[in-house]
Symmetry: C2
Subunit: 119 residues, 2 copies
Amino acid sequence: MKKEPEFCQFQEALGILVGKWKPVILVHLLNDGTQRFSVLKRKMPGITQRMLTKQLRELEDEDIIQRVIYPEIPPKVEYSITEYGRSLEPILEAMHEWGSSHVARKQAEEPETQEEKLS
Amino acid sequence: MKKEPEFCQFQEALGILVGKWKPVILVHLLNDGTQRFSVLKRKMPGITQRMLTKQLRELEDEDIIQRVIYPEIPPKVEYSITEYGRSLEPILEAMHEWGSSHVARKQAEEPETQEEKLS
DNA sequence: GCCATTGGTACCCTCGAGGGAACTATACCA
DNA sequence: TGGTATAGTTCCCTCGAGGGTACCAATGGC
């Protein structure tokens, strides 16, 4: 069952984090707390219902987020981070930090991007 | 050019780390230091030349690893982590740590896996 | 002359993530 | 009677990551 002794554990984390929208969803839920579907959707311009639903389901299946359905008639469904999901925060933070400096580095390396400012 | 102010920075890190083999390559290079192509390949059972070359090139393009060619005749090429690549270590560590507890958790949740031991 | 070794490249294929568009149910509002 | 809102689902399509296989170049060993 185990493949590379010890090595592949991070694949577990990666497997949960990859997906174009999952990290964004998690950050939103971590920052702003419990939110309903439509609010999340509005905060992620470009995502479709289909995609948002799918990503949310997958996160729910992994017990990273929680889904609460209110049986009202304009339906209401609220999503929130689970205790367990919150344990992913260090990873997201590390990635965010690294990503920021990576972007800064790339901008420093490519001064051609500055052309616009020269005109 | 920027999409979600602040949010998408971790995508930079994810973009580099995803790829079935990249994290494994990085861990090998981080743990065991400079290594030549064939050694890396041997350490990753299941990977093909084509794949290893591809993943290494992509990491090199991002300046995460370094490629040194010795003009000998059975060719010799050595790969090593760059200073910059080493800055990814905290992320890999965080993921590894989380992944380990995730695996432990899954095993605790699914005692059906124990069936084998009951026979 | 033939094979092995090393680090590749070239070509082709498969499968699934991601995504677009349309449809659904139910109640309220005008 | 028709429109709006919410949270989905269903069907279909595209594109690229991953992968399999074969080939190459240059040399040393038998």
